[in-house]
């Protein structure tokens, strides 16, 4: 949970995400039905969405350290207090920027950062420290913008949690008391980082196309903790806001430090904002408290609000955010209450934290905006996004916590989601048949019943087996694997391990163009920036001419920012076959007819039209929202005013 531990720093600014969008449409992967206009900007399946010429660049822009939080509970925000305050947070220097890519067109909600370097420097470029952010994917997507995202087009935000490795400390780090403390507190010369992106621009408004706001915090890393989420207690929103079709304050991490008599709540990923740049202009009376009685409310249209009598909670304090519209950008939304009374500290040991607001409809009562997970239970998979070739195995790490402490003997059941149906061509799906996910089931092997060890950790081995083009024109298959503890808190729901299992493919030692043309033409279709500006991937002669640089890129390690393909969606056997061709480009077709795929595609076990599960349906809606084809979220004008 280290990013909430002291000492920590908060930075705020913008991020550039030049993601490519032709590949946001599954049907665009079908070479047989691909049309040139799929590479033009524009909404709808017959166009390439908002950024067809994207190059997957991710970078920090205009980011600066806003404030620091020290072990004694004090906050400093003036450069006079510590040299690090006000310094720039920037990306890589001397090597290409990081990249942001999806797992697959059928798994677009887990956008991952790859190979991002973070540096904190003075205006002269002098280094305080730098390091590499370990690959991490979106978690905890939630509604952020009260204006519905009208200027930017995307009202949701998310979180990236990770660690910073290969940390190098600049000479100037010695001049920062904060950094000296951080350096001695952290372990393995690794740092913990959490970043909350929101306010991303699909639109060419405000000069901010392809920019978004990002709020980050960096703190010490502690050994044996998860990498992609905080070992934290969690608050879930339980007040239903109709305009948002859900809750605000949906997910917030918090840390209770009994010895320091402190609670720190991170609203950086959840605090409702007026606009795309994080302005806070509503002024509700929001208070943190400990509920003396168990809370199990779950927001719904039918029961939008749950109430609590003030006798049933111990108030911790009010959120002091109303005086500054820039509060979130300045503080990162992390609120710490120090010097808590012993009764509060001991109550927090086994009772739920709640976020409440005085009720107007039921005077004397308080509406519960958010409550802690039921029984304080949190169980999550760490390395939950996987790319597997057949024959590969990986251990998925699970951690269970109760009231912030690792929980032994927690049983976790892990289940492959039901197959989703194929979608035939029709009015809603004009280009190409789209194939379903989660089949064949035998593509993955795992033991679905696991239990945490005395240290609160469980491992599940996941093995990929050979599959033969179940999605016909897209390599491999996407599998959603839901995991849950015996009781599921519906205020948060369940989470999933998501796997892209690549197709079985035997490396071809001496390939001709026909052996790789379908792959290369698909990349050419999906990533016009390459063919337009670098090399026409569909043209074997052009590839042969540029083979040196292509061999360079296709042979880079997956954790090298120059790795091709940038999407990192190619099995090693296919990638090696491309490399074999580049080393000896044989442009003429083979004299003999090459053997076709030796196995028929695995048939989808469910018929077209089969109903989706709720989770599958909401994923589909979320993808629409991501791609800007959602009807749009209404603005919320009176958040929490009439509860």
């Amino acid at each position: 949970m280290s990013y909430l531990h002291a000492p920590r720093l908060v930075f705020t600014g913008d991020f550039l995400s030049d993601v490519s969008t032709v590949n946001n449409d599954t049907a665009h992967y079908n070479n047989a039905t691909f049309q040139p206009n799929f590479q033009d900007p524009g909404q709808g399946a017959t166009n390439g969405w908002w950024n067809p010429e994207g190059g997957a660049v991710f970078d920090f822009q205009n980011c600066a350290v806003k404030q620091i939080f020290l072990p004694d509970g004090t906050t400093q925000s003036s450069p006079a207090d510590d040299i690090i305050i006000g310094q720039a947070v920037v990306g890589a220097e001397g090597r290409p920027t990081g990249k942001m890519v999806d797992l697959d067109p059928d798994a677009q909600m887990f956008s991952a950062l790859w190979c991002v370097q973070l540096r904190i420097c003075t205006a002269n470029g002098d280094l305080l420290f730098k390091g590499d952010i370990t690959t991490t994917s979106f978690r905890d997507l939630q509604m952020r913008q009260l204006d519905g995202g009208k200027s930017n087009g995307q009202p949701l935000g998310a979180s990236w949690t990770s660690v910073i490795t290969n940390v190098e400390w600049g000479a100037l780090a010695e001049q920062s008391a904060f950094l000296k403390t951080l350096r001695t507190t952290t372990q393995n010369n690794t740092l913990a980082i959490n970043m909350n992106p929101f306010g991303y621009y699909y639109s060419h408004n405000d000069g901010r196309f392809s920019l978004g706001r990002i709020i980050g915090s960096i703190g010490p890393y502690f050994e044996n903790e998860p990498f992609t989420f905080a070992a934290a207690r969690r608050l879930y929103g339980i007040n239903y806001t109709p305009s948002a079709r859900g809750t605000f304050f949906s997910i917030s991490n918090f840390l209770v430090e009994p010895d320091a008599k402190r609670v720190s709540v991170d609203f950086g990923a959840s605090f409702p904002v007026a606009d795309s740049i994080g302005t806070v202009n509503y002024k509700q009376d929001l208070r943190l408290a400990v509920s003396k009685i168990p809370q199990a409310g779950v927001a719904s249209r039918q029961t939008p609000t749950f109430y609590i009598n003030p006798n049933d909670f111990i108030e911790i304090g009010a959120l002091d955010y109303q005086s500054d519209p820039n509060w979130l950008n300045q503080t990162g939304g992390i609120v710490s209450f120090n010097n808590l009374p012993d009764t509060t500290v001991s109550a927090l040991a086994a009772n739920q934290l709640i976020l409440v607001s005085p009720s107007t409809s039921q005077p004397g009562q308080f509406a519960i905006i958010a409550r802690e997970a039921i029984d304080g239970l949190v169980a999550r998979a760490d390395n939950f996004i996987q790319r597997l070739d057949d024959g590969q195995s990986v251990n998925i790490d699970f951690y269970a916590y109760q009231w912030g402490k690792l929980l032994p003997n927690a049983s976790i059941s892990v289940t492959l989601d039901p197959p989703t149906p194929d979608t035939p061509v029709g009015p809603q799906n004009p280009i190409s048949e789209i194939y379903g996910n989660n089949f064949p089931a035998e593509g993955l092997t795992f033991n679905g019943q696991i239990s945490t060890n005395p240290q609160g950790k469980a491992q599940m081995q996941l093995t990929g087996n050979a599959i033969y083009s179940p999605r016909v024109y897209i390599d491999g298959q996407i599998y959603f694997i839901t995991y849950q503890t015996p009781t599921v808190d519906q205020a948060f729901g369940t989470e999933q391990v998501v796997v892209h299992l690549r197709d079985y493919f035997e490396e071809i030692a001496n390939p001709v163009w026909g052996d790789i043309s379908e792959m290369m033409i698909q990349y050419s279709n999906l990533y016009p920036i390459m063919s337009k500006y670098v090399v026409n991937l569909a043209d074997p002669e052009a590839l042969a001419e540029k083979k040196k640089i292509l061999i360079f890129a296709f042979s880079r390690d997956m954790n090298d920012t120059m790795h091709m393909p940038v999407t990192r969606d190619l099995s090693s056997t296919k990638r090696n076959t491309i490399l074999n061709w580049l080393h000896n480009p044989q442009i003429a077709p083979k004299p003999v007819v090459r053997s076709e795929a030796r196995e028929a595609k695995a048939a989808n076990p469910v018929a077209p039209g089969t109903a989706l599960t709720d989770k599958q349906a909401s994923y589909k809606e979320a993808v629409k929202a991501k791609n800007g084809s959602f009807p749009g979220f209404a603005a919320t004008n009176d958040l929490f005013e009439n509860l």
Partner: protein
Amino acid sequence: MLQIDSRYIEKALTANALEELYPLLQNAIELEHSTIPPYLTAMFSLNPGTNPVQRQIIHSIVIEEMLHMTIAANILNALGGKPVINSADFVPEYPGPLPMGIGNGLIVGLEKYSTDVVKNVFMEIEEPENPIVFKSVSLAEMPTYSTIGAFYQAIQQKIEELAPDELPGDKSKQVTSSFFPADELFPIYTKQNAIDAINIIIEQGEGTSTSPLDQEDELAHYYRFEELYKGKRLVKDDTAPNGYSFSGPPIPFSPDGVFPLFPNTKTSMLPVGSEEWNRMNEFNTSYYSLLSGLHTTFNGQPGMLDNTVGVMYDLKLTAQKLCATPFPGKPGYNIGPSFEFIVPAGS
């Protein structure tokens, strides 16, 4: 006729110690670099998919300028000096003169591709000491001015005179790359290595005194640009006085296939905070990243060169998108890459 300020050649010829060559080699690195932004701007102005020969020729020359810059840095390291690439002084102000008074006041800017720019700027930059005139006027009296080639020859001569056979620099700082043939980019450990390397720079740039070809039988830069200017390939021609003539296949040029870049675009010409301004900053951030990466590469971490190759692609992609972007408030123009030195952390 392209001249180099003769003071620089005098400085080389009057050097009494290898250390006195350091600033001159630093100048050489700066000079080689300074030609790249103008060439690249012209190249990026070519619409994707059009004017392929123009693109290919400029690209081939840029690659060799990069090679020359690398060689010059290797020589400086071999002599015990330290290349400086990540400073504001390293980047010329465009339009402006190139380092060392090249061209006697030749003003070089960042402009879209045109045959005028090729003739009046690029060929001027690459002008050999004795340009061979192919099948046109008879050779006139040889003028006695000094060229970039003469400057390199002066350095070469001094290295021969002053340096020990084994050069004093840290051998681990020598930069080589799989992207260049080993007989063009090789580590400079000895005096002879340095002499050979300088010959490569001179010949690739100027050709030999009797042939437009360099040792690799490739046309020297000047003649490659002249091909573009004349719109014809320079080929062997036994009937021509010098054995070559511009009688090869035509090189078609489509002026419509050139983005109308506003000459010498600067960040300050763009509306602050606009999408175009952001993209220009992105471009200059990549440019800084590249210079910084090269600085690290040439100061003890030669393995970093591969990373800088990646940054070159970032730079290229951003530049090409800029070139395709209409210039806000300047109808009929697009945005050119500005190649301005900024420290991205600065504000």
